[in-house]
Subunit: 145 residues, 2 copies
Amino acid sequence: MPPEAPPVRFGMLLTLLARSWRAELDRRLAHLGLSQARWVVLLHISRIPEAPTQRELAQSVGVEGPTLARLLDSLENQGFVKRLMVPEDRRAKKIVLTDKAEPLIRQIEAISSQMHQDLISGIDEEELQSCLKVHQTILKNLNRS
Amino acid sequence: MPPEAPPVRFGMLLTLLARSWRAELDRRLAHLGLSQARWVVLLHISRIPEAPTQRELAQSVGVEGPTLARLLDSLENQGFVKRLMVPEDRRAKKIVLTDKAEPLIRQIEAISSQMHQDLISGIDEEELQSCLKVHQTILKNLNRS
DNA sequence: GCCTTATGATTAGCGGCCTAATAATAAGCC
DNA sequence: GGCTTATTATTAGGCCGCTAATCATAAGGC
């Protein structure tokens, strides 16, 4: 690889890193029958106090409606979530975790924080915070575009 | 686990950021008939001194063989690259840019570095470098897993 | 030379992201 | 009430990443 470092590199590294991060988490979640994408959905549901509608959940997770719909299809097939009718609005559905999913939450939180710990080893807290700040700034700039 | 900011956040932000970055670049490249994925391939070809084989190119770009093969299919259909037979190894193909692609390279480099500039506004050089270093450390940790 | 193993590219098929289009319902306005 | 517009969820279809399997060729051991 040529050692010259054009500004382009930041985006490439970011993309590669996100892909690798996802792949590793997928690997660690596989034995639970989960993937990163489905796991994130479960985690968000568990953290929202009131059962959210799909619209609200998609917003919280940060994906579009159709993407969430298909993730919920598989999670529902796996028996981890249920779609509940909303009496006041017959278009909407509220999403809740099933009893089967509840014990999973602790496991997946443990797995993901273990992985986080593994991956940030050798990075000091200050650097990490600064990196987070950079990420947030870029995201803010992106939302302005 | 810190009670208020679970470590999970870093991965989620990373994922969201990479997706948003890609989406914005796709938007800016659309009028050239390109996407981020295909653009990166062109850029790598143009930077490798000798025409690379697909294997080498895939390595350089950081994707698997089949992923590259399909990107090359579309780039070839668009007339931006050609696959050349290699006399010494009849399994392999070397990838070269066409004359049509050459003038594009400057444009796409300009677009991507403009975007880079737009997105890092408000971040000072030191923070950015530190962030890059964090990314590289995490990637190194990932490759050890 | 011949057989086994390794390698380069492709195909098939899946996951996860998107946008556009659709269907059902709700809300707002005469 | 009845029409128009907005909103919720879904379906359809595309892109881009992956792994597994396939095909042709190369390389190595005998």
